[in-house]
Symmetry: C4
């Protein structure tokens, strides 16, 4: 039992790495086949092949899920863990015939591919990312909160300025929220934008505040990652020489 | 009096926290109800319910405002403080029947929700943000000033290049300012853009300068926040161990 | 002579500050009046007033220019300095009747307003900006060069992929350059975009590289400014206490 | 042989610099002539001139390629090096008459212009960039991987939400991937965007996560470059004085 668990849960043995690789290949195949299935103009033969691939990968995923539950040290903890729920969400829609087509949940299994990075040389980078993320977590929550507030206030404001001029586009605060999301993230699809002088000046004010808020989290993450990297370099090796000598 | 003031103004007692929570719930309810009211296709019953919610929350806000004025150590200071004006702006439009519909000012009360963050574990992050903001304040003013200048010069320039080719879109400098805002913030709605070679080259030049100016404030805030966090960690706890041990 | 020069060129005397303030007010008035003149639907009376304002400010600017030339320690150096040329460019178009309407060059005088910041408390921030800019100048040139190269290669690439599918939008490499500018700066007006799978994949590749290049200069400027601020604080005052005590 | 190699491969002699300059001029001429050729409305005479320029530059490039192969210390290493392949790709399409028009590969020769920067004062900046890039390479790979995962999951998600409402725009997962690329990079062309409340909320969630991921690499590069610059300054000169004295 313990040795099977080690194969399934760890990747420090050749068998464990092979198991990981097999699962990841199945995920990749499943994910590509699912994407192709959505293409509208496929020949019936291709559809047949894709359906077969579907069946096989789902069977593999189900077997893997059962195996993981069986070998888990604490079954409840695995079942209710993030990856446990992702693994379940990937197979359940196949066995239930619901009105909603939830097969797309399978895409979440893609997250399992992150495990690839846990191997070899990227394990350090992943650990540094975890350290950096934990350090700025509170700031990230704070800025997410501030962003939500700013989005809401922007939506109410633009609704006030543009409601009369464009009763269709800015018909309600929830509609205006969509404008606020597209504008403050600077995506700017162009499906909805202010046309009154008041609305445009309000957009300017909101953007001046918003640009200083929305882009801060990525800057925080970047500096925290640099910090983690410098500490890492300081604790395990002499920093400058290896870089400047090559 | 002092004990009531402590309940109203602080949140370090159970009663104070309960008061805060009640106010914040009322704000959330009011804000959501206000948003829903703007939806165009509501049944008369729903409208009736929302109008009731409106009445009740305004009464609560009014009572809260009177209470805050009464218990304030210096009444004038509260009335003319930022939050004092916000609190007033949220209730006044309800009692005045003006031609302008200013009920949307109530959305500003949303800012009161920031108080949620003042509790528990986010109070440190909020304080760090205040420290960081104060440190880069002068730089932020400087870059805001530079952004305004660049916006104006861009607007005059694009008006010069595009005025003849697109007399409608770029009909005046104020109209061109809207193009400058949408372009330099990289929102790019696509409602107005240059089509002449000269105007496009000018856009390129302006963007090369603008990208290096508009995005700097968020970078400054990010580095100042990191600075504040490192100092914080240095003064209250040993930094690396707690992170790397878990 | 020396005392007049001090009034005109410096702002460390009451008379010098008054002169600066007068010039800046004239610039602001000229700039606003110029913007309003471009509005299409003005009454003849307003136009008359604006023309008068135009005349008066140009006369003032001309007088100021002559004064600056007269008092300058080295006349040639002032005339061919950046601000000397800007000052000249602001008045010359008025006296020459050319086919080209170059009155918009007056907007450049707006840069003179930067002098406002040189006073009082922002002078430190301006100096820090100059220090930071000088430190990253070589990197900025390098990234500007890399951006130009990437823009050109992107334009040639997208022209190859999209030329046949959209012979109108991507008719030539210069046309495709406009697409490259709008895309790599993430403005994305939406007037021109790839529609073939190949062109879209190429856009993805170019954006992945481009995002890591185009946004770097503002990050460099931000970190250099932080560096300059920390040094400044270290050399003139004790850093943390004044911030954390208030 | 050795002296010719030194002229061709290095730029530390007058002859070497002259050779470099000649090659770079030829590249610039070739690149500009290639761009002009794509313009649709050229006179036959201009076309004739451009064709001649084409011939001459290709002959020069071919001669240069042969020369580089001949003088290379290890011929195989040059032929299969990055620049060796670029040099070959620039001339081969001219001699082969293929169905595909691959002359645009010549644009890659533009990369040779980077050599300009290797001279004089920018060589330090280039070296610092190489040091910085090497330091954050692992993080860049990690974030590229995370970006790809996020793009795929976003595409599947938006396909689920918008497929029914917009069967044309979001007809398949590959089509939705294009939306994901344009949205997460904040380009936002506006050719394809969600219209259902579910799809819009999903876009909001994806953008909140995406902004914190897509913009991190440029921040990492910026901080690593600053690090490299500070180390550089520390090892070769005293840092603050030269800046603050001018």
């Amino acid at each position: 039992m313990t040795s099977i668990r080690r194969i399934v849960e760890e990747s420090d043995t050749p068998a464990g790495r092979a198991f990981d690789l097999a699962v990841q290949t199945a995920i990749l195949v499943s994910v590509i086949s699912f994407s192709l299935e959505t293409l509208p103009d496929l020949s019936p033969e291709t559809r047949e092949v894709l359906r077969w691939v579907d069946w096989v990968t789902i069977l593999l995923f189900s077997a893997e899920y059962v195996l993981r539950v069986v070998v888990a040290e604490s079954r409840a903890r695995y079942v209710f863990s993030f990856y446990g729920l992702v693994d379940l969400a990937a197979i359940v829609p196949f066995f239930l015939s619901t009105r909603l087509d939830l097969r797309c949940l399978r895409a979440l299994r893609f997250l399992r591919l992150f495990r690839v990075l846990k191997m070899a040389r990227y394990s350090h980078a992943v650990r540094r990312f975890e350290v950096a993320f934990r350090r700025v977590r509170e700031e990230l929550v704070l800025f997410f909160f501030a962003t939500c507030l700013l989005l809401y206030i922007s939506a109410v404001g633009i609704h006030y300025f543009e409601h009369e001029a464009q009763p269709e586009s800015f018909q309600s605060v929830p509609h205006s929220l969509w404008w606020a999301v597209a504008t403050l993230t600077t995506v700017g699809y162009g499906d909805i934008y202010p046309i009154t002088p008041g609305g445009r000046f309000f957009t300017f004010v909101v953007l001046m505040i918003g640009l200083g808020i929305v882009a801060v989290p990525s800057g925080l993450l970047a500096t925290a990652l640099t910090e983690a990297r410098v500490e890492d370099a300081g604790s395990t090796e002499v920093r400058v020489p290896p870089e400047s000598s090559s």
